[in-house]
Subunit: 464 residues, 2 copies
């Protein structure tokens, strides 16, 4: 409970103007991009690590839940203060502290957006590789907490492959340095990697050290068109099996194609059952051959047509189509839920078939997007949140989808996290000993369990 | 203390023939490839996870230290039972359990050597990327514990980039699954990454899931010859700054060149101050241009000659020279100590100069090898262990070297671990709060601190 003395302390720490308690302010911080809600008792804007340390000491002494929040784009409830307490808004800690092109490293505050970092390093011919679709809005702190991915994950990995150190405020209020500017270099316990994707349960990062990569010299972008979703899925497996690693391998089904085309009119094949967007990058000389091989594999696996983008405009059109897909789908229904169940790449045809079946069985429309090269599905389940009966069917579809992904050897999350939205499914993925182990691990960092309380690892009766 | 009842229990768990207590057996397990020693009280051969679980329960109840041991090639004392207790020998758990070429994953037991894994996956056109120089002998369990690197680290990363899951026996005797066959995929707390490089302090891996990579299609190998070590160091920084990422970028100084040439007679330039061995790999088409650019950069930075290997025999000769360097140096002195202090790549010329200076100041011969592309030095300090006075100078050189590496923004270990050999230097790298934090983290896994006790994190008086 946040009582008056707590509020007074918060005002002392960050100043009156940075402590919000009005009804409208609290309502503003109830949600993120998921379907879960929860009202905070107070919202606090912070400027630096010392303020956060003071807040965590205060909260720890009174066992008040603390929810750090960046851009609020989390798809699994990571920024939702379901147990009330304090929301710490990180967006004013938004300075790029250092760009070191020689060592290919940038140091940023957590409120810097992914796109701001990209823009800052571009003049040096460098790239920060993870590029979540939310990159214009989502912050580096949030990217760290959720281990964000993006369209280049298949070749370049996720956030955990590109953040190599951080300054971290522990739940005790201690401030520690984890990792550093060197990479690839071992150093003590790899706490850095543990923290990436820990969904705010282990500490609050106040500086983030990012690895930068030389921008690829050239690329080739292809569009492969299919009659069926399964054929597209089979092509993905075949490309991977052939030992070619594209930087991007994205799948869109007929529903998504039409939603985008209706909106943008860029000439997508509206009769196709599915399309693949495929890009290879690297040194120019090898790319034509790789592109030819990929197009050949697509044709051999049922593509009715395969096109190579002939210029920058054609390429931009294809990526615009992909980036706008989620916005376009918003035109089809009042609400959508985008899931990131992930399966081994070889199981892609099977899970695509199952999603189709679920859509029909429960009479719930589902558009299919996927980071197909990673086996990372992004099915967009469409519905109207106000329709209770429909919501029950949607929940059944979600549960069946994740159940199937696990049965196929997959996981509950490719990049969006567990948060609140998938908390109960976690019990399917781990046995009781493993859940206790995860919980003990968390308690080692946060003994009072105030940090993003109640998320990621479900409660266990017998937890140590 | 291992008393008779403990011995009886061990015999019950693994059978009489797998419990060794003779003087000669205990002496055999006193050492690894570092300069530290310690005699175990008993040596146990294990066959499976259940036996290990039973041993850890027993050891935990009596607070007996347990040291897991693979090939015994650790360079920092990781396999040395300094506090006595039980050595668990893992080498009989040496089955390759699964090779899954479609998902590019292999599952192995920890006693499989790195080379055995390489040979098993080669027929599928796949490679397990980390290739420590010890690969013929060192086991995958040891590679995991120490986060082993190798000559391809600059492009392909270390062990932590290539092990994606494991079965782990906790200190409590519980057996848990961490990570899985999917990659790149987030899943819960990234305990997998935490465990890689944790030097046996957090648990004992009994199955290891390895990521495999398509073998590069082609390569180009170059030899650049320099008058001085500093010129070679400057070239390394320049190549990296140019945005080219070779798969290998190795440095050898005059002392190493001559030791190798005296032994192998393969035509190395014995008058050179230093050489760089450089390889690029990937799709054939782009490689000639990359090689030309690299050779140009080397010439611009002081190389007196640069040669491109013209055929497989010339390439093999160059790699033989590098792989045999450590063996060759063994001909120069009764003992050597190979360190892996690591600095930012831009600081390479500076640290190379300092090592030269230390060698002269303390009158200790040092041959310089380096995974130069990673900034990862492998100075070989030469001495005779029986000479007490010389040993004191060697210890001073070691301390000064690591102090300088840290001052330059470097780390204590690129890939060999902390173990016992660098334990006291750790206090220079972390402040007391950070040391306590590392210790708490360790205690979360191993509350009785029996696992590889006394290593990696120095004792702190105030540890929680």
């Amino acid at each position: 409970m946040v009582d008056q003395s707590t509020l007074n302390e918060l005002v002392r720490i960050v100043g009156k103007e940075n402590v919000l308690t009005s009804r409208v302010s609290l309502n503003t911080y109830m949600y993120d991009a998921s379907l879960v809600y929860g009202q905070p008792e107070v919202v606090v804007y912070v400027q630096d690590a010392q303020q956060i340390a003071a807040i965590l000491k205060l909260a720890g002494s009174k066992k008040i839940p603390v929810t750090p929040r960046g851009g609020g784009t989390c798809l699994s409830g990571g920024a939702v203060p379901q147990r009330g307490g304090i929301v710490i808004v990180m967006t004013r800690m938004n300075r790029i502290l250092e760009i070191d092109p020689e060592n290919r490293v940038a140091v940023v505050e957590p409120g810097v957006t992914n796109m701001e970092l990209q823009k800052a390093v571009a003049p040096y011919g460098l790239v920060y590789m993870p590029d979540p679709a939310s990159q214009k809005v989502s912050t580096m702190g949030g990217n760290l907490g959720e281990n964000s991915g993006g369209m280049r994950g298949i070749k370049y990995g996720l956030t955990r492959d590109h953040i190599i150190g951080m300054e971290l405020v522990l739940s005790s209020g201690e401030i520690v340095q984890i990792g550093g500017k060197l990479e690839p270099i071992a150093q003590e316990l790899n706490l850095n990697a543990l923290l990436i994707g820990s969904e705010g349960n282990l500490g609050i990062a106040t500086k983030i050290i990012c690895k930068l990569t030389p921008a690829p010299r050239a690329n080739r972008t292809m569009l492969a068109i299919y009659k069926t979703l399964e054929d597209a899925g089979t092509s993905v497996s075949a490309i991977i099996a052939h030992g070619i690693i594209p930087c991007t391998l994205e799948l869109m089904d007929n529903k998504i194609i039409n939603a985008v085309e209706d909106w943008l009119h860029i000439g997508l094949p509206v009769d196709a059952g599915a399309i693949l967007l495929i890009e290879v990058d690297g040194w120019d000389a090898g790319l034509d051959r790789q592109a030819q091989q990929i197009m050949q594999i697509c044709r051999e696996n049922g593509a009715t047509d395969v096109k190579l983008a002939q210029n920058a405009r054609e390429r931009d059109n294809l990526w615009t189509a992909r980036r706008m897909a989620i916005g376009a789908i918003g035109r089809l229904a009042p609400n959508y839920d985008m899931e990131d169940a992930t399966v081994p790449r070889t199981k892609l045809p099977e899970i695509l078939k199952e999603v189709n079946r679920l859509s029909q069985e429960y009479n719930v429309p589902i558009g299919m997007l996927a980071h197909a090269g990673d086996g990372n599905l992004h099915p967009l389940v469409l519905f109207d949140e106000r329709n209770k009966e429909e919501m029950e069917r949607v929940e059944k579809v979600r549960a069946a989808l994740f159940r199937k992904a696990l049965d196929l050897g997959g996981t509950l999350s490719g990049e969006h996290g567990i948060g609140l939205a998938k908390l109960e499914f976690v019990r399917w993925a781990f046995n009781p000993e493993e859940l206790q182990f995860l919980r003990r691990e968390r308690l080692a960092f946060d003994p009072s369990e105030i940090l993003n309380a109640g998320k990621t690892v479900p409660d266990t009766d017998t937890a140590a």
